[in-house]
Structures are given as structure tokens and as C-alpha cells.
């Protein structure tokens, strides 16, 4: 896919879906449970999304988070044990999120239908060294959802992932191990430009000489 189309996809997932689905907001469920371990918001164990006759599969996953999971990735500060989750449509996901750092971390899915998940989110937050478990049911459509930690700069510095339902709808940018950084710094050695200039002059000189 061309970068422009991927960017469009990014914006679509980020902005359009949320506002389009807003009309269904009055059906919203607002589930939140808070404990010393953290918080689970918008949990849904039973209500089927539209277009689902039954739960297609029960999937249980454990995801670890912390600075430790960025140790072998240059230029990243935080990370998760897996940055991509794949599941079939209408499946029920139970995520156990284990935070191995001494600070908070989150595992949030965005862009879910608002008639079922108010704010379009499923949200886990684990306090330092704690774990939380939450369950949600995904819609039937092939789509790629954004997963991230919404603490300031945690997504940018490594905690961005994607939830691919069915065949998905393309990869998001900057998902570790999946897709490249959208704004990638050039990382050029200092001598690149002088050497490039030298090469240009050399070629010009040689070609001029050959043409005489």
C-alpha cells in the first residue's frame, strides 16, 4: 500500500470511526471496575456485537508490558511482550495484562463500535507490578484496531500495537515488528553528503571527458 493510503487508514481509524459511531452513544454501556491493581473499563463478557450470532471462539491471552520489553529494540523505551493480536470476528478475548514496571501502563483498544463500547474503547490499566484481566467481544468485520498505552509518550516510545480481526484492514504504521515508523529519522552518517557531492562531481567529470 502507498504511504498516502496508509496515512488515510490511520486517520480513518483514529478519527472517523469514533465520530460516525457517536449516534449510537445512547445505547452505551459504561462498565468500570477499579481496584488497587488497576482498572478495567468497558468490559463486555456477554453482549454480542451486531452481525454475530454466537461467540466464534474464546481466546485467552497474557500480555506483559514494561521497559524490559524494549531492551533489544533500538530507539524504544517501553514495550509489550506482543504488539500484534490476531483473532477471528465475533471472538471473545480475555486479556491478562501484566505490568512489570514500577509505573502505570495501559492496554487500550480503540475504534470499537460505540453502541456496545461507549467511547469506542476497551481499556485495561495495570498499576506498577500488578496485573488486571478483562474480557471483550469483537465485531464480525475484518478490521485492524489500534492498541496502545495512552500515557503521555508511551505509544510514541514503543507501546503501540494492533488488534487484527479476521483478515484485518491493513497494518497501522509504527507497530513494532509489523510496520515501519511513519516519521523515520534519516540516521545518516556525517560523511554522507560530502561523499555524495564528491561522487556527483566525479561522475560529471568522467562523463564530460568521455564525451569529448
Amino acid at each position: 500500500m502507498k504511504p498516502k493510503r496508509l496515512l488515510a487508514l490511520f486517520w480513518t481509524l483514529f478519527l472517523a470511526h469514533g465520530s460516525l459511531a457517536q449516534e449510537h452513544d445512547h445505547h452505551a454501556h459504561h462498565n468500570m471496575s477499579v481496584s488497587d491493581s488497576g482498572m478495567v473499563m468497558y468490559e463486555n463478557k456477554t453482549t454480542l456485537p451486531r452481525g454475530c450470532d454466537q461467540i466464534s471462539e474464546d481466546i485467552e491471552l497474557t500480555i506483559h508490558a514494561g521497559a524490559k520489553y524494549a531492551e533489544n529494540t533500538p530507539g524504544m523505551t517501553f514495550g509489550m511482550s506482543q504488539h500484534e493480536v490476531r483473532a477471528p470476528g465475533c471472538s471473545r478475548l480475555t486479556i491478562t495484562f501484566i505490568n512489570e514496571d514500577q509505573v502505570r501502563h495501559q492496554w487500550m483498544v480503540h475504534g470499537l463500535p460505540k453502541y456496545l463500547y461507549s467511547a469506542g474503547m476497551f481499556h485495561l490499566e495495570a498499576m506498577a507490578g500488578r496485573q488486571v484481566t478483562g474480557t471483550f467481544i469483537v465485531p464480525p468485520d475484518d478490521r485492524t484496531y489500534l492498541v496502545h498505552c495512552d500515557m503521555a509518550q508511551h505509544m510514541e516510545k514503543g507501546m503501540k500495537g494492533q488488534l487484527v480481526i479476521g483478515r484485518g484492514s491493513g497494518n497501522l504504521w509504527s507497530v513494532r515488528g509489523v510496520s515501519d515508523a511513519f516519521n523515520r529519522a534519516p540516521y545518516l552518517p556525517d560523511t554522507t553528503w560530502p561523499l555524495a557531492a564528491l561522487a556527483l562531481l566525479l561522475v560529471a567529470g568522467v562523463v564530460t571527458r568521455l564525451r569529448r
Binding site: D101, Q106, W173
Partner: protein, 552 residues
């Protein structure tokens, strides 16, 4: 055409096109004597500036945060100013996040361990075991995808420099909601004012949620070099301890024996980290019975619940945190996303010895936003306590219009009565603090009567935002009669419309356009002169063509 004919044609064209105002003075005088003055031609008309859309000066208080509130058995007085702090956050900061109802805690935004209060050790009716948890938050930082900064926070219309702050521990997202890129209201500059009582057993845990190493240094506050376990406790990497790495945490502890207005800041590469905003007021109140303190004052400013000792002498109290920021330093976190590149840019390529300050803030905002949050609202006969810190790289010459104040404390220490005098400018060097007594008794010295009296840094860069004034740290002492119901001052001067536009601070609007449209505006262009220059260029081009040898 032959070269000589071409040359002749170009010469005529040049002679015709050359603007008369470019002729030598002597030639112009001679021509005037022969032909008289040229006919009247009006100067170009002023450019018509379409008035830019202004923000609402004082956003409506939809949640009723300004009203008197009874929360957790505490009566929080009504707030006269426009934008108050969240009253549930205030109540939780007083009672402790471990002592309030789930509903209050949820409305406060704090986590249950954000500010916990334990036993009453001296049996005087208030808790003496205090544990505060602080995170490190980047505002207006780089995004990996979007061009705009993320977790947005504006000092003034359109002014969004990259910032780092210590933040109280808040549950959930950093932004208002998922569709918004704006930082939630409790995430802001400056780092919060912390208030503890003399003799309290205080723990502050720094939870480093940021991508760089940080520490906490309790400037001026009575703390041991090592803590009770023998670990370093001074926050200084080169003498006391290893910095707290990303994802890590460290607990600092102190039992302060002396009271006063102190300071806290990060001590890792302080010339960069402190200047990015990792600094706050640290206040140790005198010990009194039943002294439930507002341990966290988010964004500094009005103290909605002053201590018992302060209430003995004053009707109200304000925390005033001054800071200046360098635009070039702030931009370093917006250029790159890779922490290695940011570290190199900030700590090796950026050179503070060549730096200059561009933004001047009071309690994290510049004028006109200071008028929303940092007005000192008073009425005749009141006494107000102001606790001031200058956290900026430059000194401030704090000046009050219409009042002379008294400096009661300097750097947390009491100024003897004999050394006090009424003054209207106080100089505060970097990291200095002063406690000011501001009286509104109209006696010809303390106060000259009711009104809207600005207070500001009298160094002139301080009243600008990147050189555009009015901006910077200007705020005002406003008497109640001069404040409308929404909390906005009933000013008698110019319209505030231009100041609430991004265009004004982008230097795109003539400064007096609002009240003298056209008179001091930008002039339009002289198109006749433009035409002459075009013909001149044509003539010169032909001349060059005439003298160059012809191709065979």
C-alpha cells in the same frame, strides 16, 4: 536588429522606467525647478485585516466548579475567578486519596495511591503520614505519525512549546478523551505545588513514566542526605544516587523541622530538565491542630483551602510560580521521536550559554490566559498571602500596580519586622522564593483603592510572548466590584479580542488594529513602482543582450 539599435531601445526603456525618486538629489532639484512638483498621488491604502476569530475569553463553568461546594465534609468556598481547579481534586488532596469515597476519587481523577494520608502521630487531629506519588509527563511532545504535537497544552493562544512536568498520579488516559489531542485539565504546567506540615513524615515517590532518567531534589526543605534505609535522598546523580530510569520509581522521604516556602525540581542535567518544567513549589506549613492541608495545588494559583496558620493572619492565599522557557529547547522534543536523538539534541547540541528565553509564564500560562486562572481577587480591607517562586533562568522584578506589599519571608526564612518595608518591586533571582503580604486597606501605601491593578515582571521581555506584547506573565489584582459574575474583569481599556487569537501571537495582526483600524496598519503596495521596476528589468536585459557577442 543590429546591436546598436537594440542598445538604443534598451537605453530609452531604462530612462523611461527609472523611478524619479531614484534620481540623484541634484537632478531632482533641477527637474523641480524646471517642471515644478509632481501631481498628488495618495500613499498606498492600509491593508484590510479581516478580524480573526477570537476564543471565548472566559469559558462557561458548565460543571459548577466555581460554586461553593461541600465535598467529603469539607466546605470549599466559591471561586471568584473564571477557571477554578476541579473541586473534587482539591477535596481529595485534603482528605487523602485513600480516605475519600469511590465517587469523589473518580471525579478527582486521582489514583487511590496518588496522595495517601495515614496516622495522626502527634495526636493533634490531622494526619502526619503523607505519601505523594508523582509521575513525569511530557506535554506537546513529538508524535510518531501526526504533524501536530501530542498531549497538547497551550500557554496562550496557539503557543504550544514542548514541556516536561511532574504530575499528580491520575488514573486513565493523558488526553481529555480519545477524539481529543488535548491534555486532560489536571495535566499541565507548572508541576503542582506540594504542601506538607512541619513535622509530618513525608514520602514522595517519583514514578518515572517518562523516557529519560529523572530525580527529585527538595530544594531548601529539611531532608536527610540519605533516607532511613541508607539510600541517597538528595536527588543529585553526581553525589547522592543513581537517577530513576524510565519505568522505575524511587521513594524520597523527609520530616521537615522548619517551615517555609521551598522548591522541588529534577536534578538530572538540571540546566535542561528544570528549564523544561520539572519544578514546583514545595511548602512546609507551620504545625497547628486540625490542620488538614491541600497537599496538592494543581497548576499552583489560588489555594482553595489554606492552612490553619495562614488563616490566622490572612483571608486568602495564592501560589505564584514564575518561569521562562526557551523556544529552541522546547522544540527539541518535537523534532524527533527517537530518545537517543532527543538526548543528543537536548544535552549536547543545545547550549544554554547561548540561549535566550522566549516565553514567560505565571502558573503555567501567559497573558491573556493568566486572566482566566491567576487573577488575585480581593476586596477592600483584606489581607492576602502570596507565595512566589521564580523558577526561570532569568530574574524577575515582580511589580504590583496600586499596591505596596511587604516581604515577610525570603527563601522560606522569616524577615525580621525591623527589616520589612512597603515595596512595589521585589527582585527574585533563579529559584528564589518570597512570601508577600498584600493588603487591600486603602491607606495610600498598602493600596490606592479598588480597581483592576496589573501585577507583572517589570523586566520588559517578561511582559511579552516571544517579543509580542501584551503577553508574558501579566496578570492583575482585581477588586470584586470590578469582576463580573463569570469571573472576568470589567476592564475599561481595549478589547481583548485580538489577544485571544493565535494570529496576534504569530505576529500577523498590527498591534493596534482593534481600536484604530487602518491608522497604524500595514500599508498596501505601490503597484506603479512595481511596474516601473519590471520595465527597468526588461530594459537592462535588452542592454545585456545587445553587448554580448552574437552566436555564429
Amino acid at each position: 536588429m543590429t546591436a546598436s539599435r537594440l542598445l538604443l531601445l534598451s537605453g530609452l526603456l531604462i530612462l523611461f522606467a527609472l523611478p524619479p525618486q531614484w534620481y540623484p538629489q541634484a537632478a531632482r532639484v533641477q527637474l523641480s525647478q524646471w517642471f515644478g512638483a509632481a501631481a498628488f498621488r495618495p500613499l498606498p491604502a492600509s491593508v484590510d485585516y479581516a478580524s480573526a476569530e477570537a476564543e471565548v475569553f472566559c469559558p462557561p463553568d458548565l460543571s459548577g466548579w466555581r460554586n461553593e461546594r461541600v465535598i467529603e465534609g469539607l466546605t470549599l468556598p466559591a471561586v471568584a475567578g473564571c477557571v477554578p481547579d476541579n473541586p473534587w481534586s482539591v477535596a481529595t488532596a485534603i482528605r487523602g486519596s485513600n480516605n475519600v469515597s469511590a465517587d469523589t476519587l473518580s471525579k478527582s481523577g486521582f489514583t487511590s495511591d496518588a496522595v495517601t494520608k495515614g496516622r495522626d502521630l502527634d495526636g493533634d487531629g490531622d494526619p502526619d503520614e503523607i505519601h505523594i506519588r508523582l509521575e513525569v509527563v511530557e506535554l506537546n511532545g513529538a508524535s510518531a505519525e501526526q504533524p501536530a504535537p501530542v498531549t497538547e497544552y497551550s500557554l496562550a493562544p496557539g503557543i504550544k512549546p514542548g514541556l516536561w512536568v511532574f504530575a499528580p498520579k491520575l488514573a486513565g488516559m493523558a488526553t481529555e478523551n480519545f477524539e481529543s489531542n488535548l491534555a486532560r485539565p489536571n495535566l499541565r504546567l507548572p508541576s503542582p505545588t506540594l504542601r506538607v506540615e512541619q513535622g509530618d513524615r513525608v514520602y514522595i515517590t517519583l514514578e518515572n513514566t517518562h523516557y529519560m532518567p529523572h530525580t527529585l531534589h527538595l530544594h531548601g526543605a529539611d531532608h536527610g542526605f540519605v533516607d532511613s534505609t541508607g539510600e541517597g535522598n538528595d536527588g543529585v546523580p553526581i553525589t547522592s544516587e543513581m537517577p530513576v530510569m524510565p519505568g522505575g520509581a524511587r521513594r524520597y522521604e523527609l520530616t521537615p523541622r522548619s517551615s517555609g516556602t521551598m522548591f522541588y525540581h529534577c536534578h538530572v542535567q538540571p540546566h535542561v530538565h528544570v528549564m523544561m518544567g520539572l519544578q514546583g513549589l514545595f511548602i512546609i506549613e507551620e504545625n497547628r491542630p486540625d490542620n488538614w492541608l491541600q497537599t496538592i495545588n494543581i497548576g499552583a494559583g489560588s489555594v482553595r483551602h489554606p492552612s490553619v496558620a495562614v488563616r490566622e493572619n490572612y483571608q486568602q492565599e495564592y501560589d505564584l510560580h514564575y518561569l521562562d522557557l526557551d523556544r529552541e529547547l522546547s522544540a527539541e522534543i518535537q523534532r524527533n521521536n527517537d530518545p537517543r536523538l532527543i538526548t543528543r539534541a537536548m544535552h549536547r547540541e543545545y547550549d544554554i550559554t547561548d540561549a535566550s528565553s522566549d516565553y514567560f509564564v505565571l502558573n503555567g500560562r501567559s497573558f491573556p490566559y493568566t486572566f482566566r486562572e491567576s487573577l488575585i481577587v480581593t476586596e477592600p480591607g483584606q489581607r492576602t498571602k502570596l507565595r512566589v517562586v521564580n523558577g526561570g533562568a532569568k530574574g524577575i522584578a515582580l511589580h504590583t500596580h496600586g499596591h505596596k506589599f511587604t516581604v515577610t519571608h525570603k527563601d522560606g526564612s522569616r524577615v525580621p519586622e525591623a527589616a520589612r518595608f512597603p515595596q512595589d518591586v521585589v527582585w527574585l533571582g533563579t529559584s528564589q522564593r518570597a512570601d508577600l503580604e498584600l493588603s487591600s486597606v486603602n491607606d495610600g501605601v498598602s493600596s490606592y483603592g479598588a480597581g483592576i491593578w496589573p501585577y507583572h515582571d517589570h523586566q520588559y521581555q517578561g511582559v511579552t510572548t516571544d517579543g509580542i506584547g501584551p503577553g508574558g506573565n501579566i496578570s492583575a489584582i482585581v477588586y470584586r466590584d470590578y469582576l463580573d459574575d463569570a469571573g472576568w474583569p470589567k476592564t475599561l481599556g481595549t478589547s481583548y479580542t485580538p489577544y485571544f487569537t493565535e494570529e496576534f501571537y504569530r505576529k500577523e495582526i498590527p498591534v493596534w488594529e482593534a481600536y484604530a483600524p487602518g491608522q497604524f496598519s500595514d500599508p498596501g503596495s505601490d503597484w506603479r513602482l512595481v511596474l516601473r521596476i519590471a520595465l527597468l528589468a526588461l530594459g537592462l536585459g535588452l542592454a545585456v543582450a545587445a553587448v554580448l557577442p552574437r552566436r555564429r
